[in-house]
Structures are given as C-alpha cells and as structure tokens.
Symmetry: C2
Subunit: 273 residues, 2 copies
C-alpha cells in the first residue's frame, strides 16, 4: 500500500490563504492523494511548538515526511515551524527578501496586518452589503435598486443568490437580484420595472441539463425541474439578454468565485474594500 502524505496549512491567522495556495499547488500533483490539515492561529511559541510536535508525529505515523505551507509572518513562530521534520514552503520567506530590496525598506513583520488594517468603516460597509443582498434577494423589492452596484437577472436557480452574497462578503458590493418570472419569459422582454436600471443589469444563464439537476435536488420530479421547462426558460432568458443588450455569462462550470470575479471584470464595478 502506498504511503499517504499529509499536507499542513499553517498560519498565524485563519489559514485561508495558506489553504488556497497549498491546494492550488498540490492540485498539480494528481497521482498522490494527500491528507489535508489546517493549523490556524499559530500565534504564540506554545502553539508553534505544539504544531511542530503534531507535524513530526504525523510524519512518523505516515512513514513519509509532511509538506508544510506556511503564511506565518512573525519571525519567532516562523523559525520554530521551520525546525519541523517537514518540507516547509514558506510564503513569507520566499518573497519578503526580494520585496525589501525592491522597495528599499525593511518590512514591519507584523502578523496579520492585512486583516487588522480593515477599518471599522470597511467592516460596516461589508455587513451593510450582506444586508443589502439579503433584503434585495429574489426580487423581493426593486425599491432599493438605485442604491445597487449591480442587479443580477436570471431564471430560478441560475446562481444569483450565492453570487450576490459572495460579491457582498468578498468585495463589499451592493448586489440585488431579480428572477425572471414565467410572465417575463413569456413576454420575451425585460420587465418594465428593470428598465430604469438597465446599465446595472447583469444576466446569469446556465446549461439546461445542469439547471435540471439543481432543480431536481430541490423539487424532485416537478414540472419546475422538467427537461422541457428548463430548456424553455433558459432559451427565453438568453433571448431577452441578447435582445436587450444585457451582458451575461454562463454559470454552469465556473465556481462562485469565478462568477463574481468575471462580473467585476466585465462590468468594471469597483470593489468597496
């Protein structure tokens, strides 16, 4: 039996960046299956010592040395982690030297400065953006569209809600969404209520087969999830987008991150933090 190797994501903060980095790299090595362990908040000598003990014990257990992806900034803790019996890939080590030389200054070596610098105003904006997405989800009301940065339009289950929430949480963007109703689709044009906000509209579409799968999950064997219905809705929606010149994208394959980034990229909307 092949030995399974463990990959550790070690951070003095949440470990989310270390995970994103490490996974992106490890995904380049298909053949090997890796066990993944995140060790967040390694922000004291005790915790760093405990992390090293765990990393070393895991290596002995696995019979193969672990890989450590570290985003720890603080020198003391970084040095401790590097003493572990693992391959340590240290993001800070790799890049801080070249940056110091380029900028002609010393780095401040303060853990988590990136997060800590988020001002109260930025935090409140982010929360307000989440509240905005919730209060303007699923066409509940169009009254707040003047305040919206973007209004996502599409058929039911085309990905509007998660995308709005992600835009709010990740970028602080005020995103509303409006589901095209049976009536809208039948009329074959943008509903009147959206016309004043035309320049804020962005359409989401999706492959019928995928939409059917998602809807089936929600309401098995319903007309709503039927092959004819989803095909009809998607076709009509796409025709509306094209006729009205609404920019749109297909959400079948991209992740929520990619959908949100594409919208930002294509519309030029500025993130709010």
């Amino acid at each position: 039996m092949e030995k399974q190797r463990t990959v550790f994501f070690v951070s003095d903060r949440t470990g989310i960046t270390a995970e994103a980095l490490g996974r992106s790299l490890m995904s380049q090595f298909d053949g090997a299956g890796f066990r993944q362990v995140t060790l967040p908040f390694i922000a004291s000598v005790d915790k760093a010592d405990a992390a090293v003990a765990r990393i070393n014990a895991t290596g002995i257990e696995d019979g193969v040395r672990p890989v450590v992806f570290s985003t720890i900034v603080d020198d003391t803790m970084r040095v401790i982690i590097h003493r572990s019996e693992a391959l340590c890939l240290d993001f800070f080590d790799a890049f801080i030297g070249p940056l110091e030389r380029e900028l002609g200054m010393k780095s401040s070596h303060t853990a988590g400065r990136a997060h800590a610098s988020a001002s109260d105003a930025a935090y409140i904006n982010r929360i307000e953006a989440v509240n905005f997405a919730l209060a303007n989800d699923d066409g509940i009301t169009t009254r707040n569209y003047p305040k919206a940065d973007v209004v996502l339009v599409g058929v039911s289950r085309s990905g509007k809600t998660p995308t709005c929430l992600y835009l709010a949480l990740q970028f602080g963007i005020f995103a509303a969404n409006y589901p095209l109703t049976e009536d809208d689709l039948q009329r074959g044009r943008l509903p009147e209520v959206l016309l004043p906000f035309r320049e804020k509209l962005y359409g989401l579409t999706i492959e019928p087969a995928r939409l059917q799968q998602i809807r089936h999950q929600r309401r098995p064997d319903s007309r709503y999830a039927s092959s004819d219905q989803v095909r009809y809705e998607v076709e009509r929606a796409e025709n509306i987008f094209r006729a009205a010149g609404v920019p749109h994208m297909n959400t079948t394959h991209p992740s929520i991150e990619e959908i949100a980034s594409t919208i930002l990229h294509q519309t030029g909307i500025k993130r709010r933090f």
Copy 2:
C-alpha cells in the same frame, strides 16, 4: 512628491489568491502607498501580452517599476508575464520545483486545477449550504436544526448572519442562527427550543460600544441602539452562554473570516468541501 508604485495581482483564474498573498506581503510595508490592480483570467497569449503592455506602461507613467504577484500556472503565459519590466514574484515558480523534487513526480501544470476539480456534488452542497443559511437565518424556524452543523446564538447585530453565510460559502457548512430575544434575555437562560441542540450551539458576543455603533447605523437614536439597551443585552447574553456552557467568542475585532475560522477550530466541525 514621492512616486507611487503600482502592484499588480496577475492570475489565470480569479486573482483572489494572488490578491490575498500580495496584500498580506505589501501590508508589511507601511510607509509606501501602493496602487492595486488585479488582472484576472490571463489565460491566453493575447491576454498575457496585453497584461505586459499595461504593466510596462504603468511603470513608465509611475516613474517606478511595478511589482507583480503572479499565480499563473501555465508555462506559456507565465514566461510572457516574466518578460515585463516589473519585479515579478511568482508563486508557482517559487514552490513547484521543491514540490516536484519532494514528491518525486512532475506537476501537471494545468491552470486552475484547484477550482476545476470541485465536483458537481461539492458545488451543489455549497449552494445547499447557502440556501440552508438563508432558510434558517434569524430564528425564522428551528425545525431544521437537526440538519445543522452549527447554530449561532447571539443578540441582534452580533454578526450571526454574515458568519453563517461565510461558513456556507467558504466551507459548505450548514449554519443556522438564532437571535436571543428580549424575552430570552429577561428569563436569563437558553430558550427551551434550543435545548435539544445544545451541543451545536455557538455564541457570538460583541463589545457594547461597537454594537451600539452598528445598531445606530441601522436605526439612528432608537432604544434598540441606546447605550443602556446594548449594555443590558450583551451582559445578559454572556451570562446565558456562561451558565449554559455554550462556547462563545467576541466578534468586535476579528474579521468575518477570522470569526468563521475560529468557530471551526474551536468546535471541530468538519468543512464539507
């Protein structure tokens, strides 16, 4: 006047990881103000050429060479970006060599494998988690708590909703939340309806001054936002958590990412993707 330098985050996918990395590093250099530009979806030779042209033009305009943080995986596009007149800090370059040696295999060099490998099942789970958070927000119902991974408890505006949504979007976790009502606070103990789910409860608390600021934003000069009211509510809520042995944390200073990661870390809940 000092020259302002531009930092580019260049990626063949969303650029979100490049941004996180780059910002974390640049935050170590306080003195310098940097203009930040994200160039996502650099996934063709044309786009890479255009990116280089933009980077070079910016360097000339700024009078100081830009810094580029790249997470591009594909060799062709990576090489093009490296030809730009910038300091290129390349995440892939830095770590893929040591990893190939350690693992004794070649990497597959396939752009964005990390995202693309997300299975349909994982995607649907993520969407279901978002729907669960929405359907079980703000104590709408307690009927689905048996399906919840965690139930956040706290006073109004203590950060429950954004945290539930982040847990859903980032980790696929089924998170409900229950606001402690005036009645609950007065009685000074956990509401009956929560008792069967005691082991799933996690409390959020917040400094009264911050809570007042957030509530004031929402309903200026209301009793709801008054200093006496928020102090009373926070104190009673914390007493309830302590008396019932509900683990809890203060959300005043940490970011949403940190709150979510702390909950995972303290409760041992497993992420679902």
